[in-house]
């Protein structure tokens, strides 16, 4: 894993590596990317992973110096070569370049350019005791397993890894995930891809006891070198539940703290989770009832033409806007009436906004009044008949008067009707229909033409309150 705080990073697994480079021919495309599960996880684990990376590097170099393993492989960018070679020389080791690969465009330094292609490359170095034979990291068909053992592989893992390389594979985790046994992948095995240890070789199976045994010296050496806290984190990680999957050559490891992914070279494989990822329980929602389009159209609103609208959508939208504009008035009111309520749509929308409001409708057209009763139910009186009769009934039903009366002044016909409404309603709300707004351009012109005075409001409104000066029209 490369990061900003290190100028070099460990490859996983240790050699021998595949002869053929991974596809695509860029090492970085096959390196891991981490995405933390949240700011707290990042605050805790990003610095820990950084320190674990530093510790792993130091432990690995010490293992080479003590000849526990024959050598190891480090990667660095061009600018890190000098620091890397100086560091390994300082502990009596040698660094030999063995491979170069085009780096990631996002990581190219600003001064890197096509004139200096060397700065666009990442370099792999074999690190070991002098004299160092660079060929030892190359895959050799004959003694690959033996080479692996020299790099610290247990015999079972060496043989298994060699066989995998001979078959053209190169990704140790992909090999583990492709196995038929579906036992959980231990966290140390799954997260070995990050190059943090303690598993530094390609294990032959998820439950390889030799692999577990090889982890112990890594942890012990880390403590000996002073990385006590870091090694305790590694031991904590061992208890993590991880998900590991390989789908169409893209691997992904998920933990509670982060997820990471990389492009593998291995073929399609079905997802396999060490433990099923915890998905939130699905929220139960009410059952969906689908009614046919005729019902939908009826619900949208009928009788729109006689109400002065171009479409049921226009009527519903306008009435919705009226309710929206009159939110404050409705909040204060306890009773309201829609004069000429048609199929009751406006009353229904008002009831949805303020269910406790006592609502009345009046409608001369018998069919429309019936449609309104069906829409609104029995608790909302819809009064039929002529306006004179209706207002008399309304006065009896609401002897204390009505707070709000919604009217389309064009439908009222004359000022007498408006005066009658004014006699029983404390406030009159004028509604602009498509027909009236087309004719009068806006609600102010509509009112002015009809000799009505409105309370001031937005120019683009579709409803307005009649001025108190008009309260008693006689």
């Amino acid at each position: 894993m490369k990061s900003a705080w290190l100028t070099c990073w460990l490859a996983w697994p240790r050699p021998p590596l595949a002869a053929a480079p991974r596809e695509p021919v860029v090492a970085k495309a096959a390196t891991q990317r981490i995405s933390f599960s949240g700011p707290q996880a990042r605050a805790l684990w990003q610095p820990r992973l950084e320190r674990l990376g530093e510790a792993a590097l130091a432990i690995e170099l010490e293992m080479v110096r003590r000849k526990h393993i024959a050598a190891t492989v480090l990667w660095t960018g061009y600018d890190g070569i000098e620091a890397l070679t100086e560091r390994v020389r300082a502990i009596g080791l040698e660094a030999r370049p063995i491979k170069a690969s085009l780096g990631y465009a996002a990581d190219w330094s600003q001064d890197a350019s096509i004139d200096e292609p060397k700065r666009l490359l990442d370099y792999a170095f074999l690190i070991g005791a002098a004299p160092l034979d660079a060929a030892m990291a190359d895959p050799a068909a004959e003694d690959m397993a033996e080479t692996a053992i020299r790099f610290g592989y247990p015999a079972c893992c060496a043989e298994s890894w060699a066989n995998h390389l001979r078959r053209g594979g190169s990704d140790p985790l992909a090999r583990v995930l492709a196995r038929e046994d579906k036992t959980a992948v231990p966290a140390h095995t799954a997260l070995a891809v990050l190059g943090l240890g303690p598993v530094r070789h390609a294990p032959c199976s998820t439950d390889c006891s030799a692999t577990r045994d090889r982890s112990r010296p890594f942890l012990d050496l880390g403590r000996e070198l002073g990385f006590v806290e870091e090694m305790s984190w590694l031991e904590e990680i061992a208890g993590w539940t991880v998900g590991a999957s390989l789908v169409n050559g893209v691997a992904e490891i998920t933990t509670a703290a982060f997820r990471c992914t990389w492009l593998s070279d291995e073929g399609p494989s079905q997802p396999r989770l060490a433990a099923p990822a915890r998905r939130p329980e699905k929220r139960k929602a009410a059952a969906i009832e689908l009614v046919d389009s005729a019902h939908v159209l009826a619900e949208l609103g009928t009788g729109f033409e006689s109400a002065g609208f171009a479409s049921p959508f226009a009527m519903r939208s306008r009435f919705s806007a009226v309710v929206w504009e009159q939110t404050a008035a409705l909040r204060r009111a306890t009773t309201a009436v829609h004069i000429g309520c048609g199929d009751g749509l406006l009353l229904e929308l008002i009831a949805q906004t303020k269910p406790k409001l006592r609502l009345y409708g009046t409608e001369e057209d018998t069919a429309a009044a019936e449609a309104a009763r069906q829409r609104l139910g029995a608790s909302f009186p819809v009064l039929g008949g002529t306006s004179t009769d209706v207002f008399a009934v309304l006065s009896r039903l609401a002897p204390e008067g009505i707070d709000l009366a919604f009217v389309d002044p064009e439908q009222l016909g004359d000022r007498d009707a408006l005066a009658a409404i004014s006699a029983i309603a404390r406030s009159i709300i004028v509604i602009g229909t498509d027909r009236s707004l087309r004719r009068f351009r806006d609600i102010d012109n509509l009112a002015a033409t009809m000799g009505l005075a409105l309370l001031p409001g937005r120019a683009a409104r579709v409803s307005a309150t009649l001025s108190p000066a008009m309260d008693r029209l006689h």
Binding site: P24, I34, P39, G103, Y104, G249, R279, I288, L300, P312
Partner: protein
């Protein structure tokens, strides 16, 4: 790149049955407070125009919302805002005008057509829908017509309802709405969403009908069709994120500025209730894999529309696994075929049928391999000149 400011993350006042953010909310991963100064500091650092987003952005305290609007206006001449429209009030209209807020409103249709955008009960849902319809009409009348996002589902685009939806869109056009974004339903987090999705064939029928409608309604534009034609023409400078090789670990097209100012990813790929932070580096494993993976295994190998589609949004991937191509592939494929046929008939270029396609694909794969993601337009320039 779209910068989405999300002070309250995925917090929302309604519970759309199909919402892709529902997993995050169910898991309880919704911030209860935010640090406006940290958010503004991040916006200063990014220096990009931004949109106010959610969850539901209108749940943000108005004074803070105004501060963000003013910042967008002062720095970039305006600000985008995506809302469900239910919380817009009279006083907000002047704010929108003052700070040149470009509003996008999500609604699936008038009245019962919008019932999938559930608000807890049928009455509450209808009340919310009425408020959205009121907001759209009011904004249009105020000379600020919103863009409208419509998610196609069984409530609004089932075969028996499609004509009603089309008539409603015609009405929106008459009100002054000019742009509509069409989404296919992403069904993964709520049982309530089950049964709402149209089949691929129904989606295709609906989109083809809406495409014809676009030709009948010259004032209304569905940006998805325009963008698909642009992608086939190799003109991808202004097309949306689903066509741009999205990396779910570090979404380039959508960058979220979260409640504490940190950068987040687009939430469409968060299937496990976790809002993962952006990875430090963008990469294109998904596209590299899809290109080489047979279609039978969930890849795009051999698809002539790959350069235009790139497997589409990882949030819609088969089985909810971002590594697979979009489950809506048959729908996009059918539409690309339609548009390709029309482009060729009118003598225009379709890269899907161009002899340049193999070369373009090779260049794109090479670029993705080193973490670069060039536009098709840029790749076509040198090819054209040779």
């Amino acid at each position: 790149m779209t910068v989405e400011v999300r002070p309250l993350g995925d917090k929302c006042n309604i519970k759309c049955r199909y919402c892709y953010q529902e997993g995050i909310r169910t898991a309880g991963n919704v911030p209860t407070r935010y640090d406006l100064d940290a958010i503004i500091a991040t916006l200063d650092r990014l220096g990009e125009p931004f949109s106010l987003f959610g969850g539901e952005i209108m749940m943000t305290r108005r004074s803070d919302l105004e501060r963000l609007m003013q910042l967008g206006f002062d720095r970039h001449g305006g600000v985008g805002m995506q809302t469900n429209g239910t919380l817009i009030e009279e006083r907000d209209i002047e704010l929108f005008r003052k700070y040149r807020v470009r509003i996008g409103i999500s609604i699936d249709g008038s009245g019962p057509l919008n019932d999938a955008r559930w608000a807890g009960s049928l009455a509450a849902t209808r009340r919310a829908t009425a408020r959205i319809e009121a907001a759209i009409e009011t904004l249009c009348r105020e000379g600020m017509p919103p863009n409208v996002i419509v998610t196609l589902n069984r409530m609004n685009a089932a075969p028996g309802r499609l004509d009603v939806l089309c008539d409603w869109i015609g009405f929106l056009g008459s009100l002054g709405v000019r742009k509509l974004r069409l989404h296919l339903l992403e069904q993964d987090e709520t049982e309530g969403g089950e049964g709402l999705a149209l089949t691929a064939q129904e989606n295709l029928v609906a989109l083809r009908r809406l495409r014809r409608l676009e030709q009948e309604l010259p004032s209304v534009e569905f940006d998805i069709f325009t963008e698909m034609a642009a992608m086939l023409g190799g003109d991808d400078a202004r097309t949306s994120c689903v066509f741009h090789a999205c990396d779910p670990y570090a979404t380039r097209a959508v960058v979220g500025v979260e409640s504490d100012g940190r950068l987040g990813n687009c939430g469409r790929t968060n299937k496990d209730g976790v809002t993962h932070l952006r990875a430090s580096r963008e990469a294109f494993e998904r596209q590299l894999s899809l290109y080489r993976t047979p279609q039978a295994d969930g890849g795009c190998q051999g698809c002539r529309f790959f350069l235009a589609c790139k497997g589409n949004c990882p949030g819609t991937a088969i089985g909810g696994d971002w590594r697979m191509r979009s489950i809506d592939c048959p729908v996009w494929f059918g539409l690309f075929e339609d548009i390709e046929t029309e482009l060729l008939a009118s003598g225009e270029i379709a890269i899907s049928r161009s002899e340049l396609r193999p070369d373009l694909e090779a260049k794109m794969i090479a670029a993705w391999s080193i973490g670069d993601n060039p536009t098709l337009h840029s790749l076509l320039q040198p090819a054209d000149s040779t």
